[in-house]
């Protein structure tokens, strides 16, 4: 589907008189609208029908709540190779893995064809899609999306023809549009659909009209459909119901792209991130320890810095007072000869470590697997050299 049509462009080229310009551009406002919905409802599984070149998906992949992203479009060919890099995990995704898994799948297919792989979604978006459907397809559309896919939530956007008189051109906004509805037409259609498939619907939009033409409504009208739940008023993430699962698998869509992102749910990445964080933390504690030791040696007057909390607090480490108190209570780091030790019980108090593992025994098990050489014999502390630069140097 060719959406994000030339409306923005058109608008910026019309004479200065009565110029209607949207800032940010309308297509962006639509995408940000969806992002807001995602922020608000935190869906796990999101599908975009008529995803075009997957721009919306590229924006949604950043949301930490989203674990499954699907795009469906008719025109999805080898051209995708150019955009696929943006949907694939990048170096940054490997170095700083997400908390939760994320998989992205793109299908070639039509929004009026059933495919069982789109069952059980929390949110399905159809941004500027329906106006491209001919009457036959439009008739099939509700049954497929609402009846069959039946997601927890559907967001449908379409041009509002009430707004069109404000534009110089009197035709449709895009030559491929089969129709452009006014507010009444859209709301009528949407309400019927909602009623038929037990959804509630509310109407909103993006692209507010100028003050002198308030009556025309938003330039893009949007319907937000929420599936009615047995317990009214609560919006629950959709789950594939038993009856759905037992339905025969229908695979009308063709997979054109898949990507799976590294995450902390995958043990390999958890191990790597944990070991790195622990060693970073231990190194920072060591530096502070050495610094305090040196100050004591030079017998400068004791200051508040030399107290235990001085050892805990460091620049760049954000701790609440409660966290500081917690760490202060735990076993202290110590040195024996040229080795420096930080007890695991102390490490677990640091939020960056605690975020990854909940308890000391898990921490111990993982570290024993990831950096066995850095654990002391009893597996109670992480050990490093007190002075890592104390090694022989070659002469020049």
């Amino acid at each position: 589907m060719e959406k994000n049509s030339m409306e923005e462009f058109q608008r910026s080229t019309v004479p200065r008189k009565n110029v209607i310009e949207f800032r940010p551009p309308l297509y962006k406002q639509r995408y940000f609208f969806v992002k807001d919905i995602v922020n608000q409802y935190k869906p796990k599984k999101v599908a975009d029908l008529g995803c075009g070149n997957a721009t919306l998906l590229c924006m949604l992949k950043f949301h930490s709540c989203v674990q499954e992203l699907v795009g469906v479009d008719l025109l999805m060919d080898r051209l995708l190779d150019w955009n696929s890099d943006k949907l694939s995990p990048s170096i940054g995704d490997h170095l700083g893995p997400r908390d939760l898994d994320l998989s992205i799948v793109l299908y070639r297919g039509s929004a009026v064809e059933k495919d069982s792989r789109l069952l059980g979604f929390d949110l399905i978006t159809c941004i500027e899609l329906i106006e491209h459907l001919d009457s036959e397809d439009l008739a099939k559309f509700p049954e497929v999306v609402f009846g069959y896919f039946s997601p927890g939530m559907v967001v449908i956007s379409t041009p509002n023809s009430d707004f069109n008189p404000l534009f110089p051109a009197s035709t449709f906004r895009n030559s491929d549009h089969k129709f452009e509805w006014n507010q009444t037409q859209f709301q009528h259609w949407a309400s019927n659909v909602a009623k038929l498939y037990s959804y509630t619907v509310e109407f909103t939009g993006v692209g507010a009209p100028p003050p002198w033409a308030k009556h025309v409504g938003y330039c893009t009208q949007i319907g937000i459909f929420k599936k009615k739940q047995p317990d009214p008023g609560s919006w629950i993430l959709a789950k594939p119901t038993g009856s759905r699962v037992s339905e025969p698998e229908e695979h009308a869509y063709q997979v054109v792209f898949t990507a799976s992102f590294p995450s902390l749910q995958q043990k390999h990445f958890l191990l790597f991130v944990l070991c790195t964080e622990v060693l970073k933390e231990v190194e920072a504690i060591r530096q502070k320890y050495v610094w305090i030791m040196k100050r004591k040696e030079s017998s400068e007057p004791e200051s508040e810095e030399d107290t235990d909390s001085g050892l805990v607090r460091r620049p760049g480490l954000f701790l609440t007072d409660a966290q500081v108190a917690q760490i202060e209570k735990s076993p202290k780091p110590y040195s024996v000869g040229k080795r420096f030790y930080v007890p695991l019980k102390r490490l677990i108090g640091y939020p960056k470590v605690n975020r990854l593992v909940a308890d000391v025994s898990t921490l111990r098990t993982l570290l024993a697997e990831g950096i066995p050489m850095r654990l002391n014999r009893a597996h109670t502390s992480v050990q490093i050299d007190l002075d890592p630069y104390d090694y022989p140097h070659d002469y020049r």
């Binding site: 030339m6 962006k28 020049r396």
Partner: protein, 852 residues
């Protein structure tokens, strides 16, 4: 609505975020409206999006477009131009045969693979036009790909130029296709060229095919290499991740098309700029924190984790905090915190961090003010290893342990890769449709050159191992040495005892090698760089033969200030030694021996020689590198032998302001060297052979057009009648080719002196590979030699053997080295100047190897 407008609208839509990092106009510019900037980021199999519009704009007819597919990275493009330079055809004596004959044949396994093509294989290049004209590349390609006429043919298409392996029946083919909107588009496909497999365009297409295949193998492309993120090697204690992978290319070798794959590792740093800053904050006081921070960070390349782009840190703005607002390109104001939350669902943890400033490169060469991007340190990963990291012995050891593969380990990786390519269904399909067959690994025959004898003053030794003959020359006298009578030792009070001890050893080993070392004047100084420097200033005068400084630490400013002063202001040879080195128990004699030899060289002495059959030969080494401090400066070093025995050297170095590593001053240097030679030998050298090191990709043509003429003109001007004959050889230490020798069912590095001058070489060049250094661990890297100019007309065999001989003559190491000694001297000289002196060394030192 014109098609152009439509594309423009879509173009905007394709990149919803105008700049993925909030970019703010630089202060003097009120607003910036560069929307398309982020579009260039789209990566593709073919040219970037911009390419099409360019082709159109200039109305290039595809028939004469030399390289229709322009690679995204400029590097590969430059490579092609290197290969386009045909030097061999001008060298009559090697036109028919460039292989040598001496030495023992040895069978070698390479990292090259056969790519088999049917005999009559050709690539057909077509030009495609559309009626009505379509601006959308996406649509153009979609329509063509989906047309049934072409659907099951192997093809590559960038929107304008189409490549097929099967010829269409007609020279001009008309196809029509329906868009999904119901319109009809007519496509006219016109044959413009038929290309043989060896043409450079075909090779580009092959490289594109392999790029595709590697993506199919779940490899991640960084630069020109492909890495496997699924199998990382992690070194958490150094915050590093290593991704194993390959540097790959397809190119035309001596007689065949071959695929090269060399094992490569990508080093990724798991450290954000914020973490780096907080570590630094802990190390330094607040007063010098910002300064140190800037010193360490400016110029580094960072990777933003959210959009996978790299930026150079040009500045740090300490006054801007993440809670401050900036103006988005649509004019609205937003705080950095909100922007990242909204755009990327990222919550910033440190609200007091400053922002990094990066100047954005503008594609267009118009005069618009450069735009800057503000980056949040917390979201920027450091990339590459800083010089601080590379000097961290433990870190480098950890990296080396993981990345240094033995010949066998390397072979196993290659075998697995070949297996993957052959087994992967998609990869195989891709190859098959193009008619390509991924063949077996190439083996070839090299030759091991005879070993060299080392000539000492009264002794000729045949070293047990050419890699290190220090034991063989124990108690042998060096060729010549000036007696050291008037010299100074500068040391700290604490180091007095070790210094005395060391001096004793030095005098002993000196006398046994024939180098008389008298007792020096010992000066004691405070342990402080300034105190050392002022002691040097106070006590050194031009009568002093040599100054030895026993440095308390390897802090750079001790070394740099002393070297700077003694190399340019008060030219006296100097020798710096670390106290720590002298404290090594049981090593004193060998340390003293090495230092005694260096000192002898710095006084103009000669250590050893090899037999040089050519009676009047001058060899020259040239190297160039960028200055460490002033980035726009290039340091060019020139070292020439000034006696027939090739034991004495004339060394010059200059700093020039240019963007490239091409030398400007060679005429002056060469004339100077010829004058020196004339003074010492009462005539001019019959032959001059120049080894040029430090040449980057794609500079070959410039070298031939710019450097060779400089050398030639000074040679011809030097004498009215018969001038010296000149040869110029480009030396490359880095090449992706590897050779291994099969040995009792395992693989080993080939013996020292192995030459390869067939099959793995290039048809248009007079080139060869020589393995002249030993690698005790890992796989040896052969050095590649390309003779780009040759008046001497030496037989290839003699050229190879002479090159091998010259690898024996580096006086800082009693053994073979990887490149000819003059090159290594030039390298050492440029390194010293680029790292420490940043100034032209005094001419008074030019006659000795003062920089060893």
């Amino acid at each position: 609505m014109s098609g152009r407008a439509r594309v423009k609208a879509r173009g905007r839509a394709r990149s919803p975020s105008p700049a993925d990092a909030p970019s703010v106009p630089s202060s003097s510019l009120p607003t910036s409206v560069d929307i398309s900037a982020s579009e260039a980021s789209s990566t593709g199999d073919f040219a970037g999006t911009s390419r099409i519009s360019q082709t159109r704009k200039y109305g290039v007819s595809p028939g004469d477009a030399r390289c229709p597919f322009i690679q995204r990275s400029g590097k590969s493009r430059r490579d092609f131009t290197d290969l386009d330079v045909c030097t061999r055809e001008k060298l009559a004596h090697v036109r028919d045969c460039k292989t040598g004959s001496s030495g023992v044949p040895v069978k070698l396994v390479t990292n090259l693979f056969n790519l088999d093509l049917p005999q009559d294989w050709q690539l057909y290049q077509y030009h495609v036009t559309y009626v009505p004209d379509l601006e959308s590349r996406r649509l153009r390609i979609a329509l063509l790909y989906n047309h049934r006429e072409l659907s099951n043919k192997a093809k590559a298409f960038d929107g304008v130029i189409l490549f097929l392996t099967q010829k269409l029946e007609e020279k001009v083919t008309e196809l029509s296709s329906e868009t999904h909107r119901g319109g009809t588009v007519k496509m006219t496909i016109t044959l413009t060229r038929e290309l043989p497999a060896s043409s450079s365009v075909c090779i580009q297409v092959f490289n594109i095919i392999f790029k595709k295949i590697f993506k199919k193998l779940a490899m991640y492309q960084i630069g020109r290499n492909f890495y496997k993120p699924s199998e990382p090697v992690e070194i958490p204690q150094h915050k590093l991740s290593l991704w194993p992978g390959f540097a790959i290319s397809v190119s035309q070798f001596e007689s065949r098309l071959l695929f090269t794959a060399d094992v490569s590792y990508k080093i990724l740093r798991n450290e954000t700029v914020l973490e780096f800053m907080t570590d630094l904050r802990q190390e330094t006081t607040m007063s010098c924190f910002t300064q140190t921070c800037e010193k360490r960070l400016l110029g580094l390349i960072v990777l933003t984790r959210y959009n996978n782009k790299t930026y150079r840190i040009d500045d740090i703005d300490w006054s801007v905090k993440p809670t401050h607002t900036f103006q988005k390109q649509d004019g609205t104001e937003i705080t950095y915190v909100d922007y990242y939350k909204q755009q990327y669902d990222i919550t910033l943890s440190d609200l007091n961090q400053p922002v990094l400033v990066s100047l954005l490169k503008t594609k267009r060469n118009d005069n618009t003010e450069p735009r800057v991007a503000h980056l949040i340190p917390e979201l920027c990963f450091l990339t590459g290893l800083t010089c601080q990291a590379t000097s961290d012995f433990r870190l480098m050891k950890a990296v080396a342990e993981e990345t240094r593969l033995s010949p066998l380990g390397r072979q196993q990786r290659l075998a697995r890769l070949a297996d993957d390519i052959q087994r992967n269904k998609d990869a195989r399909f891709e190859l098959e449709t193009w008619g390509l067959h991924f063949g077996c690994q190439v083996s070839l025959t090299g030759r091991v050159l005879p070993s060299e004898k080392i000539l000492m003053q009264d002794h000729v030794c045949q070293p047990a191992s050419a890699a290190d003959w220090s034991k063989d020359m124990r108690n042998c006298k060096i060729l010549s040495a000036q007696s050291l009578n008037k010299w100074l030792i500068l040391c700290s009070n604490r180091a007095e005892y070790v210094t005395e001890n060391f001096l004793h050893c030095l005098r002993r080993v000196g006398s046994s090698m024939g180098f008389n070392v008298d007792y020096p004047k010992i000066i004691k100084a405070q342990e402080d760089p300034a105190a050392f420097f002022s002691a040097v200033q106070k006590h050194v005068n031009p009568d002093v033969q040599l100054v030895m400084c026993i440095l308390p630490s390897n802090q750079k400013n001790y070394y740099d200030t002393i070297k700077n002063y003694l190399n340019s202001f008060c030219p006296v040879p100097s020798q710096c030694v670390l106290t720590r080195t002298l404290n090594k128990q049981g090593m004193m004699m060998s340390v003293a021996t090495k230092i005694a030899m260096q000192m002898a060289c710095k006084l103009g002495g000669e250590l050893w020689a090899v037999e040089i059959p050519l009676k009047s030969l001058m060899v020259v080494g040239i190297d160039a590198c960028k200055d460490e401090v002033s980035k726009g400066m290039v340091v060019v070093g020139f070292v020439a032998s000034i006696n027939p025995g090739i034991t004495r050297w004339f060394s010059r170095c200059i700093l020039q302001r240019t963007a490239t590593d091409v030398a400007d001053c060679l005429k002056v240097f060469m004339t100077g060297a010829l004058n020196k030679w004339y003074k010492h030998n009462h005539g001019l050298p019959a032959r001059i052979i120049v080894y040029r090191n430090g040449v980057g990709d794609g500079q070959l043509k410039t070298l031939i057009e710019y450097e060779v003429p400089q050398l030639l003109s000074s040679v011809t001007e030097a004498s009215a009648n018969t001038s010296s004959k000149l040869s110029v050889i480009v030396v490359r230490k880095k090449c992706t080719l590897r050779f291994c020798m099969e040995m009792s069912r395992s693989l080993q590095n080939p013996p020292l002196g192995t030459v390869v001058d067939s099959e793995a070489t290039r048809p248009d060049w007079y080139d060869f590979y020589l393995i002249s250094q030993a690698a005790c661990r890992g796989t040896v890297n052969p050095t590649y030699y390309n003779v780009i100019y040759d008046d001497n007309g030496l037989k290839p065999d003699h050229m190879q053997r002479l090159t091998f001989k010259l690898c024996h003559l580096y006086y800082n190491w009693p053994g073979l080295i990887s490149i000819p000694a003059p090159c290594q001297y030039a390298h050492k000289l440029t390194f010293l100047v680029a790292q420490s002196i940043h100034k032209e060394p005094s001419l008074e030192l030019a006659n000795s190897l003062f920089y060893l």
